[in-house]
Amino acid sequence: MKLPGLYVHIPFCRSKCPYCGFYSLASTSLVSRWLDAFKKEVISYRGRFRCFDSLYLGGGTPTFLEVKTLKAVVDCLFSNFDFAPDTETTIEANPADLTPEKIKRIRGMGFNRINVGVQSFDDEALLFLGRRHTAGEAELVLKRLRSCGFDNIGIDLIYGFEGQSLKGWIETLKKALVFRPEHLSCYQLTFEKGTPFSKMKERGMIMPLGEEKECDFFTSTSKFLEVNGYDHYEISNFARKKAFYSRHNQKYWCHTPYLGLGPSAHSFHNSTRWWNVRSIRKYCEALENREAPVEGREGLTNEQMILESVALGLRTKKGFGLKQIGHDPKMMEMLFRLKKSGHIRIDKDSVVPTEKGYLVADCLPLYVIV
């Protein structure tokens, strides 16, 4: 059995980016109340999970917190939970927050992996995406991270928005490769429900690229990065070699247990998934009243587990195991049809999506599970 992962959702940002659907507040007024509540939540889970081998601080913007707050979070985790010796500890960072001083302090806290939200190396694009840093600033930060000893750096990029040319996007990728990042996440712009971008789209102020261009961007990205030595190991994720696959994120895709702390965080354990309230205030109130800040919970049936395994597997290079779906002749028939149409490969006993399959990963499971 694989070791569980630990996720902490830091629900604060300096400002909200118009494309982002994650929960956070652009205000610091609740930070100390949240920290107290967070400590209570940590204690409530003490002893309930065995040793973790990944820690991921996401959000929100963890680096937006003051160093002493971040330190308190990390200390609280290390003093209440057990971690394996080789634990992957990741922090998500906004280049705008990463002063030389902060980089040193973060490194000092024991983070061995940093994921930088660069989003683009094009200043115009950064403006459109509502980011509070320039390309030059991001480049400087990446250099500093290297010199401070970070030997596992991930860069997050967004592509495929109106006005961006394929050529411009490849330029951004080239600039990212200058830093030889161990990991790259390339997210095609999605209009998340409730975000300013999605509202603008409804009003016709932003147009999606359209199916054909979106496909072009996706396949070009994959080709370009594979040529440059990156494994396209998940729809939006690339790594320089297997060792640099995000250990923590893979847990989400393999039904490995994980504990999520903080508002809106999701947890999974023993075929059960539960999720916290999506409100700092409610989160704090619950914990202050010695209640779990859990909003919902679901026990997955065997059938649901299989559906998820297939759906999640088809988003990764690993695919899913044939034995997971049993040996249903109808499903086998469908699989061979998908193989013939070039959406999947069947490697021994596992089913693996092709590039063409990645592009339709959301509906592929419907063709597998009949």
Binding site: Y7, F22, Y187, Q188, L189, T190, E211, E212, E214, C215, F218, I235, S236, N249, Y252, W253, Y258, G260, S264, A265, H266, S267, F268, R273, W275, E298, Q304, L307, E308, A311, L312, R315, M334, R337, L338, S341, H343, Y358, L359, V360, A361, D362, C363, L364, P365, L366, Y367, I369
Partner: protein, 599 residues
């Protein structure tokens, strides 16, 4: 003293306020407390309530004391308000001595008003015109009165003004019923003759037969005989309808009520049949009985073949309460085992479809509705075909014939052009115009029934902006050049999508069908070719292009549940589609293929 009896019905063009008036009469006679009152008491099926039309007729006995202090029992017999059910209407009218002819004060006399009037006149009924909705600002009472005089040739001075909605004039209506409608004839000593005008199924009591006693009387313990088939039953209970059933010692001449006699299904009774006593039968039945024959046919299949048994069960249960539906086993290469059903008309078909889905929880596919064709074969044999599956070998067809109707379309003059265009498009011929009043035209035209069963009425309403009304009579069978149009999906012939068409229209029908299917069939991972063919010749085609991208960028802890739920929902949706080879065809496609362009 025995209360006096009046038997009457309310007839009206659709939406002229028949149901509201019925409700108001029930309310005024104190049968139900105001606060318990649900609108449209007589229409007790959900679908009726939603569509605002009456499907099954029902009756109710209203106690009433008139202004002279005389006691009455007023039997209100509700009639269905749609052409599909004209026979049921005629039996309900045969049970009355008079009718209230409701006319909307702003719409005036419409096609069904006239048709209803003629129906009432055929039964020699007293006719009381009631001008309803006088509270509307658009009410034009004077011109409606003129129409009553000119179009209907009735005395407009006898017309009663009311607003059923506001409750004004209701007293006048009730008084008129007692004064103007003659009492039923009084032959208490004759043989029992009871006219069946409705029947419905009660899970505890079996069939409840609604009837009007024309002579003699009936009580529990009597052995009754149904004169159409000679079946006999022992009467368990008789009574009258209040809001529920109210048992009585006996039903006597002139009365309207119910008989419960251990009759298992509604199909064992026939609307229009005469009930008599087994020991002392009447020499002849009451006139007017005829077998109801279906005119529209369609097949019903379960979406998944495992549900066949459940569908069988549901149809049998449904049939308990709907004698007009006929069905028999059917099978299709594309859709598996199912049933071929016959309906009175398209509305009847839709009602059956909705009730099977809603009340019985069945996921069904209904194929394109069709009429019954006749083919004279080379060997001299004539065969009847109501299912394209059984279209005979074209080489052996000597003569092909299809049923024709004569329409009665009533429209304001300004729509004559568009209506004629529509009718001619639908192979109308032999048109005649009548001018019932200045500014209005009645278009009589002969048309193949096949051309009106699908969406003719919808199209008529569209082109006339709602002002057109439509009624028809079946005429005869006429010779035509017919052909069978097949549809192929990815090269596979889908027999359930076949239709019989006029050869001149074959190409346009095929193009239309391919276009519709292209709209109805969702995109798949692969290309889908849709073709229309006659014999082996492809005459139309369309393509559903595959989708290339359907993927969201992010999938982390918080996204998985949502993603799975979406997949589960899509999976459920797909379950409601029919797999033909590897193509999922939605239920709607099987009927949409028939829909014409709404230009």
């Amino acid at each position: 003293m025995m209360p006096k009896i009046r038997n009457f019905s309310i007839i009206a063009h659709i939406d002229h306020g028949k149901s509201t008036l019925a409700d108001r009469l029930i309310q005024r006679t104190g049968l139900v407390e105001d606060r318990k009152f649900r609108d449209q008491i007589l229409d007790d099926m959900d679908i009726e309530r939603e569509r605002g039309i009456t499907i099954k007729s029902q009756a109710v006995t209203l106690p009433y004391i008139n202004k002279n202090g005389e006691q009455f029992e007023l039997n209100l017999i509700d009639t269905p308000g749609h052409v599909d059910f004209s026979y049921e209407v005629s039996r309900a009218l045969a049970s009355c001595e008079g009718v209230l002819l409701v006319i909307d004060a702003s719409q005036g006399v419409e096609a069904q008003t006239v048709a209803n009037l003629y129906a009432a006149m055929e039964h020699d009924l007293a006719i009381i015109p009631v001008i309803n909705k006088i509270d509307l600002s658009s009410a034009d009472i004077e011109s409606v009165k003129e129409q009553i005089e000119v179009d209907l040739a009735l005395d407009s001075d006898t017309a009663i003004l009311c607003s059923a909605k506001k409750g004004t004039g209701i007293e006048d209506v009730l008084e008129a019923v007692t004064e103007q409608i003659p009492p039923p004839s009084d032959d208490a000593d004759g043989h029992l003759m009871a006219l069946v005008f409705d029947a419905h199924y009660d899970p505890f009591r079996g069939t409840i037969v609604s009837c009007r006693i024309f002579s003699g009387h009936v009580k529990s313990g009597d052995r009754i005989r149904l004169m159409s088939n000679g079946a006999t039953y022992k009467v368990e209970e008789v009574g009258i309808f209040r809001l529920g059933r109210e048992p009585r010692g006996r039903l006597s001449v002139g009365e309207v009520g119910y008989i419960i006699a251990g009759i298992k299904t509604v199909s064992d009774t026939r609307i229009g049949d005469t009930i008599t006593l087994d020991c002392d039968p009447a020499p002849n039945p009451l006139p007017g009985f005829r077998e109801v024959k279906p005119v529209v046919f369609s097949s019903v299949y379960p979406v998944t073949s495992e549900d066949y048994t459940a569908l069988t069960d549901s149809l049998e249960k449904y049939k308990l309460n709907d004698a007009a539906l006929v069905f028999q086993k059917d099978s299709s290469a594309a859709l598996g085992l199912g049933f071929r059903c016959g309906f009175l008309g398209l509305l009847h078909l839709e009602i059956v479809q909705e009730r099977l889905e809603r009340e019985f929880g069945q996921s069904i596919i209904m194929t394109v509705p069709t009429v019954q064709y006749r083919f004279v074969l080379a060997n001299g044999e004539t065969i009847r075909v109501d299912n394209p599956l059984y279209y005979p070998d074209p080489a052996g067809i000597e003569k092909a014939m299809e049923p024709y109707i004569r329409t009665s379309i009533l429209i304001p003059e300004r729509y004559m052009g568009v209506v004629m265009e529509l009718c001619l498009e639908r192979r109308g011929e032999n048109s005649r115009f009548n001018y019932p009043t200045p500014g209005r035209i009645e278009v009589q035209i002969d048309m193949p029934l096949a051309e009106v069963i699908y969406d003719f009425y919808d199209r008529l309403k569209t082109v006339t902006q709602g002002y057109g009304s439509f009624d028809y009579d079946l005429l005869d069978y006429r010779k035509n050049d017919l052909a069978k149009l097949d549809i192929l999906v990815n090269g596979e012939k889908v027999d359930a999508l076949s239709q019989i068409v006029h050869r001149d229209h074959a190409r346009s029908r095929a193009v239309q069908a391919c276009k519709r299917l292209k709209e109805e069939i969702p995109r798949h991972l692969f290309k889908i070719a849709i073709q229309g063919a006659i014999g082996g010749t492809i005459i139309a085609r369309s393509t559903v292009s595959p989708f290339r991208k359907d993927v969201t960028a992010k999938c982390y802890g918080g996204d998985i549940t949502r993603k799975r739920k979406l997949l589960e929902k899509q999976k459920k949706g797909k379950k409601r589609m029919k797999m033909v080879g590897s193509v999922a065809i939605p239920q709607s496609a099987f009927v949409a293929v028939f829909k014409t362009d709404s230009k």
